[in-house]
Symmetry: C2
Subunit: 334 residues, 2 copies
């Protein structure tokens, strides 16, 4: 096989077929993977979740993952947030001419491994090649179909006063990791991305209680952006207790040096969960037993007052408004 | 609103919401369009078609369409080829910093119009922004779900000796149009892209007869590449009659000047159909009444001999092998 991707790999002829067979089909093979214009899926009726996400992270490899792993986690997690068991994914690649084949191979291998862990099948794909300088490395778009569980009814519009707010682990690791991987600040810190597929985490919560109002994954924009969105969609206020918010020491250190707010750093393996105060401790107990949620914590509560706002109780007990999200903090972190 | 797309539009905060509301939601609005992590779709069970396609065409506007129209047609047509009524689409955008907002608006408007014509709803989306020079203009990935009609069973593996081969119109217009739009050859010709949504065309054929073996849209790689794929998948030979293949005069002229083979130029609104010889004339009659298939023609037949090959009977009666596809003829034409 060629050592790099060429324009011929994207022309739709023999070389395209070879690339698909040798790299993608080799890793994604399953009985539902299509060789036609579309996959044929046997799906029982009912409520399906459907979501898409484009991944353009730079650099495409970072401590804790690469763009391949990220592209599976992102879409699996979006489905999971709706209480949907991930069933099928499609993946569309845009690759820069000259991209190293061994790097593409590593990306496909990470996708295979992560899809397997999440229990999802890759059923359809597409490969385009753009000329040198017309795309930066590789972009991947994944789209997913999931079967929404009976009784699951989660939405950003469902937060209620009296809900406790849970995060499933320490926050901001992915954004911090990608920032450092860019080598622009000359800072070294022992931080790895939290990037992980979270269907198992969601399933364990639903097995504990069906009464979960909101699940959102805090990706681009971080936990702070997600909280502001939910506060607006549900017309409620949010009050956080800053000392309960789990942040790894490495992330804290980097944020301190660069003046960043961990609440606005991206996560790729963390959920924000709203559920009635009474059941929250039980959910946290469940989460503490999970692979990706050992540091889950209740970080705040939903209030009737101050609808649309997020208030933070600081370490010394003062209450301040979390500055609303806006502007670009970190482009291309997902 | 800003006049160009900025990195802040891709950061996931306030500006991202504004861009989505003002450009995408304004055009794609429908009751199933999600404001959560995934759309919730009520789908009756059974066989669903699922397909994805990335669009990176350069230039992003061309006579007869733009990347927005193309991105809807491409996925609608892939679903249609499986005998599936297109139900839902997702769209993921990667936009270059500095991309003009009015151009993005035109793209979204074309998507709205084409989706409406095809009877498909846009249910989910994603917007990423890459820095200047990190992506060329705008790339769009669409993914579609369709309901496969009872009795429909089309596949590239189903061609049978005795089948007639139909194309639904003159070939090579899209590839020729994009080539000329690049202004690299200083050739002027009155050619517009054939880009069109073809669910109506497919439905009309199925209403005429269910006994259709293969439907494929001849996009990247053109009719020639599709025929070689089917010949290989079905282990059959293909014999074309060159004088029956419809090619517009403008396309013929350009191909003559540049030494191109129309069979290898992309179409974005043409189907290749395999059906038993006996019913082919009836299908062609039906096609002649359709908006996008007035020039449909029987161009050849399937044979037992020469499996995996495509033979062309030339205008003077000689038989030659159509050179198998390979190499890059025209990158970024879809």
């Amino acid at each position: 096989m060629d050592k790099t991707v060429t324009l011929a790999h994207g022309a739709g002829g023999r070389q395209t077929s070879e690339l698909i067979d040798q790299v993608f089909r080799a890793h994604f093979s399953n009985p539902d993977l299509t060789a036609d214009d579309a996959a044929v899926l046997n799906i029982k009726g009912g409520k399906l979740a459907f979501t898409t996400d484009g991944f353009i992270v730079s650099p495409s490899e970072f401590p804790g993952g690469n763009i391949g792993k990220l592209s599976i986690c992102g879409t699996v997690n979006d489905l999971s947030c709706m209480g949907a068991k991930p069933l099928y994914l499609s993946c569309a690649f845009v690759i820069e001419e000259g991209f190293p084949m061994d790097k593409l191979e590593k990306i496909a291998a990470a996708m295979e491994k992560t899809a397997k862990e999440a229990g999802v099948k890759i059923a359809a794909g597409d490969t385009k090649v753009a000329g040198k300088g017309q795309v930066d490395g590789v972009f991947i778009t994944t789209t997913g179909i999931g079967q929404i569980m009976d009784d699951a009814n989660t939405s950003g519009f469902n937060a209620k006063p009296g809900d406790a707010i849970i995060v499933t682990g320490d926050i901001g690791r992915h954004g911090c990791t990608v920032l450092l991987a860019r080598d622009e600040f000359g800072i070294e810190a022992d931080v790895t991305s939290d990037c992980a597929p979270l269907w198992g985490t969601v399933k364990a919560m639903f097995d504990t209680s069906k009464d979960i109002h909101v699940i959102r994954d805090a990706t681009r924009g971080g936990v702070g952006t997600v909280l502001y969105e939910i506060a607006e969609q549900s017309k409620v206020g949010i009050r956080l207790d800053s000392k309960s918010i789990p942040v790894a020491d490495g992330v804290k250190g980097v944020c301190g040096m660069l003046g960043l707010e961990p609440l606005y750093l991206a996560c790729e393996g963390r959920l924000v969960v709203f559920a009635p105060k009474e059941i929250a401790p039980k959910l946290v107990d469940t989460l503490h037993k999970g692979k990706y949620s050992k540091d889950a914590a209740i970080i705040g509560e939903v209030t009737c007052d101050m609808p649309g706002r997020v208030i933070v109780k600081t370490e010394i007990g003062a209450e301040t408004l979390l500055p609303p999200p806006g502007g670009e903090l970190l482009p291309r972190i997902c």
